[in-house]
Amino acid sequence: MRVLVSFIVGATFGVGLLISGMTNTNKVQGWLDIFGAWDPTLAFVMGGAIVPMAIAWQLTKTRKPVFADSFPAAPDPRIGRNLVIGSTLFGAGWGLAGLCPGPAVASLSYGGIGGLTFIVAMLLGMLIAPRVRTRLDQMATAS
């Protein structure tokens, strides 16, 4: 059942991304382009997505998950160096191509050779990320 739910979640997520316009890189780069023809759509997408999620988080306080024993524990609240460095690198790439991981997968079937190139590079980046993390941690302890 958990596998079926996962498929349905992926499918629903993808259809939401398509309808919202977030698989169109012009709309994402338009949101980030505050000095150009600024496009506010992404703020509506975020707002629309946060409402059902906030309700779900509220429900986790009094209920049990349907197909699991307990809800995930809150992550370590500390703001680490990797969170800041990683988010900055991610943002730079996001602005450059107008794609982030979810929409990149959702649009893979209609994104042509460009979308495929991005995904392959992204997967490669994810593969080397643990090594980058180790190197960053070594640099931090050395200094």
């Binding site: 996962s6 498929f7 979640v9 499918a11 629903t12 997520f13 993808g14 939401g16 398509l18 309808i19 977030m22 698989t23 169109n24 980030l32 505050i34 509506f44 997408v45 629309g48 997505a49 946060i50 409402v51 999620m53 906030a54 779900a56 986790t60 349907v66 699991a68 995930p72 809150a74 992550p75 609240p77 969170l83 990683g86 900055t88 690198l89 991610f90 943002g91 790439g93 996001w94 602005g95 191509a97 107008g98 982030c100 991981p101 979810g102 997968v105 959702a106 079937s109 209609y110 979308g115 190139t117 590079a121 992204m122 997967l123 980046g125 994810m126 080397i128 990320a129 643990p130 980058v132």
Partner: protein, 141 residues
């Protein structure tokens, strides 16, 4: 153009419902980079079927819907060097930060996670700067 925000709001709500189902049924956070990254670097070996099913749904179903709609525009740049650089940055960055737009943005902000809010501030700031530099200053995108 003027009604795009309605599609944004409806699409956004659908994304949020997907995340809510994942949390309430499977007790999982709908973070695209974490789910995919766990498959790539082997850290998600124990629940790979669930991860693979999620990615399969995310890949297959929008493709079918786009086909039924008569195609969808992605407007991905034709500059392959830009795409390779962007892909590497997104891949490394999201894994270092442990999250992307869906994990930190949608799932994190909605539980008022400080980490999610800080991460979102940094990636939107860096994204805006990236567009300014590469579009308006250098003119490569």
């Amino acid at each position: 153009m003027h009604i795009d925000w309605i599609y944004g709001l409806i699409g956004g709500a659908i994304i949020g419902i997907a995340g809510a189902i994942f949390l309430l049924f499977n007790a999982r956070i709908m973070g695209a980079s974490g789910i995919i990254g766990g498959l790539v670097d082997g850290s998600g070996k124990s629940d790979w079927q669930e991860r693979a099913a999620m990615v399969a749904g995310l890949f297959i179903v929008p493709g079918i819907v786009a086909l039924l709609m008569g195609g969808a525009q992605t407007n991905v740049t034709g500059n392959l060097a830009v795409l390779v650089a962007a892909g590497l940055l997104v891949g490394v960055g999201t894994r270092l930060a442990n999250g992307c737009t869906s994990g930190h943005g949608v799932c994190g902000i909605s539980r008022l996670s400080l980490r999610g809010i800080v991460a979102t501030g940094f990636y939107i700031g860096a994204g805006g700067l990236s567009v300014v530099i590469f579009k308006h200053v250098l003119g490569v995108i």
